[in-house]
């Protein structure tokens, strides 16, 4: 019982790393104008060195929205699916789903994105679907690995003590698999942040926009602005997940 008290004491300390990246990301998306001088050095020949077609904050918001939505759905479907195929009723599908999750990861994310377009058309929808599909794989794989990696004795004891299947899932399987699941979510989100940027080529507006338009117009300054912000976003998300993982592992 006193263990619970000890656990409560882990404070916010350590979260400053992701928060610092986040602050830098927000500062840069609001105050990119301050960088005009250095950018002009890189691209002396162009008239405009600041990407002004949309505000960076709006692009960032779009990016986070699309990735967030796809990732949320991927977590729900991925964890739900993996849980379903490890129950007695769905166990028939376990070998197929396991194989599919490992084969699917061989597919390059760009190719998945490219295939979603003919099926769903241009815009945000195909990106969300492609990110969702691709993001599912690491989550499914890790959830399966996490649940299957639990000591059979623990499972046996839980049943033997008279826990219901629901209680075993919620109190034993999911908490024990949590670190592995979280690692899968981290992989999934990291890939999605990157792949969403490529989505700018199929008509979604997000942080990939300045890069694509910079490449098309030969304006390196645009490219740099987009690249900086995406890089920062990726690092912010990744460091936040690292923090989260440490917390979960410490509890286990």
């Amino acid at each position: 019982m006193s263990g619970d008290v000890v656990r409560q004491r882990h404070s916010l300390a350590g979260w400053w790393v992701p928060l610092a990246w986040l602050a830098l990301l927000l500062a840069l998306s609001l105050g990119m104008g301050l960088l005009e001088g250095p950018l002009r050095v890189i691209e002396p020949d162009s008239r405009d060195v600041l990407y002004v077609r949309a505000s960076f904050l709006a692009l960032l918001g779009q990016h986070v929205m699309v990735v967030g939505l796809a990732s949320l759905l991927a977590v729900l479907l991925g964890v739900g699916g993996a849980v379903a195929v490890t129950r007695p009723a769905g166990r028939d599908f376990l070998p197929l789903v396991t194989q599919l999750a490992s084969i699917g990861q061989t597919f390059p994310p760009v190719a998945v994105l490219a295939l979603a377009v003919p099926a769903l058309g241009f815009g945000t929808l195909p990106i969300v679907v492609a990110l969702l599909l691709y993001g599912l794989l690491p989550i499914v794989r890790n959830t399966l690995a996490g649940i299957q990696g639990i000591d059979p004795g623990v499972h046996e004891a839980a049943r033997g003590m008279g826990m219901t299947p629901g209680q075993i899932l919620r109190q034993v399987e999911l908490p024990l698999a949590a670190p592995v699941i979280l690692a899968g979510v981290r992989t999934s989100v990291t890939i999605n942040v990157a792949t969403a940027a490529i989505g700018a080529t199929v008509g979604a507006s997000n942080l990939g926009d300045p890069i694509i338009s910079g490449i098309v117009n030969g304006n390196t300054a645009y490219v740099l602005q987009g690249a900086l912000l995406i890089g920062l976003l990726a690092i912010t998300v990744d460091s936040a997940f690292e923090r989260l993982q440490r917390r979960v592992v410490r509890q286990g």
Binding site: D92, P95, P108, A111, A194, I215, A227
Partner: protein, 384 residues
């Protein structure tokens, strides 16, 4: 065991029933008079009539029936049926193609894509249930590929994807070459550099910490951003250093792509090599030393051969990843199959997108299969 076996195989049942429904309800093909006009979707029964459409459901229902009592010989029969279905699809398409006018373009509809997917899943499921070996699994695809090839050569000229290919057959071969060259050279360099780095990391903890720190950091940066970030410094370098420019280095093109690929490839390569060398059973090393082998002999004759399968695993992961990343590199003018994807997306020509995306997936799958097989072979003691 007999009791367990006679329970219906729910997977095959579901796959086949979904297949039948998709086949009869979703558009199987789309026909367009030329490249510009979007195609008209047609369902299977609209293309070649109800008779043929219903005939095609027979094997699927057959597989479902066999799956009801999945004895071994039932599953074998189902396997034959599924391979037959996969091989019959190009024949059916050929039949459709024969009814079309010369200039029209035939596209695959959602029903056919879905069926391909479902049947391949059924194949995977059957392979697993019958415990067929990996080579045998691939061999099953041979008749299917043969059927597609023969049909493409003979009757499937109107297939839009094939048309796109014919227009650019030279470009296509060149793009595959570029793609492979970029992947090969970057992964090769990453292998050399990665092994050296891993060896250095084994010597010094400091190098290990800093090295993994940097590589992990690099891996989180999205590829498109890294390509972009490399543009400026490389352009600057090329404008200052003449011999670099003479080599073809510039802000866009192969140079930033290659550098970024190298950067991304290093992490999986170094990590696997390092782990492989570290995790050789200490008892084996101890025994080797106890027998009087020198440090050098221990490394070359014991540690390295034992680590090889895991190193190979690293090469596999790296190569598959690099094949995908190279596709993105097309955005900065590095060439390769990604060019078709982005051209296609730009022109809203979906068959062109497919012409890029499908070979990329095929390449990734092939490399994955080959290197996995090689690793398996090494693990079984195929060294020497």
């Amino acid at each position: 065991m007999q009791q367990a076996r006679s329970k219906p195989n729910a997977v095959l049942l579901v796959l086949m029933l979904v297949g039948v429904v998709a086949w009869l309800t979703l558009p199987a093909i789309s026909v367009a008079p030329n490249r510009i006009v979007p195609g008209t979707p047609q369902r299977a029964q609209e293309a070649l009539g109800w008779g043929v459409a219903l005939l095609a459901t027979v094997p699927m229902l057959g597989v479902a029936t066999l799956a009801w009592r999945p004895f071994t010989w039932h599953l074998r029969a189902a396997l034959v049926l599924v391979v037959g279905l996969l091989a019959a699809m190009p024949l059916w398409l050929s039949g459709v193609a024969a009814t079309l006018e010369a200039a029209s373009r035939l596209g695959l509809g959602s029903a056919l894509w879905l069926l391909l997917f479902l049947w391949l899943l059924a194949l995977i499921e059957l392979r697993a249930r019958l415990a067929l070996s990996r080579p045998l699994g691939w061999a099953l695809l041979l008749p299917v590929l043969l059927a597609w090839w023969v049909c493409l050569m003979q009757w499937l000229a109107p297939l839009a994807l094939y048309r796109e290919y014919q227009v650019r057959s030279d470009q296509f071969v060149g793009a595959i070459g570029q793609h492979l060259a970029l992947v090969g050279s970057a992964v090769g360099a990453a292998l050399l550099l990665g092994v050296c780095l891993a060896l250095a990391m084994r010597r010094r903890a400091g190098v290990r910490r800093v090295g993994f720190g940097i590589l992990n950091f690099l891996q989180t940066i999205p590829s498109i951003a890294l390509f972009g970030l490399l543009l400026a410094p490389l352009a600057w370098l090329a404008s200052r250093v003449e011999w670099l420019a003479a080599l073809g280095v510039s802000g866009i093109g192969w140079a930033p792509a290659w550098l970024a690929l190298l950067g991304y490839s290093l992490l999986p390569m170094v990590r696997n090599t390092f782990v492989a060398l570290e995790e050789v059973d200490p008892a084996v090393i101890e025994a080797a030393r106890g027998m009087g082998m020198s440090q050098r002999q221990v490394f070359l004759q014991v540690r390295l051969p034992l680590a090889l399968p895991v190193v190979l695993e690293g090469i596999r992961i790296t190569t598959v990843q690099a094949i995908g990343l190279t596709a993105v590199a097309a955005l900065i003018g590095a060439g390769g199959l990604g060019t078709f994807i982005f051209q296609g997306l730009g022109q809203a020509a979906m068959d062109l997108v497919l012409l890029g995306a499908l070979p990329i997936i095929a390449l990734a799958l092939m490399v994955d299969a080959l290197l996995s097989a090689l690793a398996d072979w090494l693990r079984q003691g195929g060294t020497t």
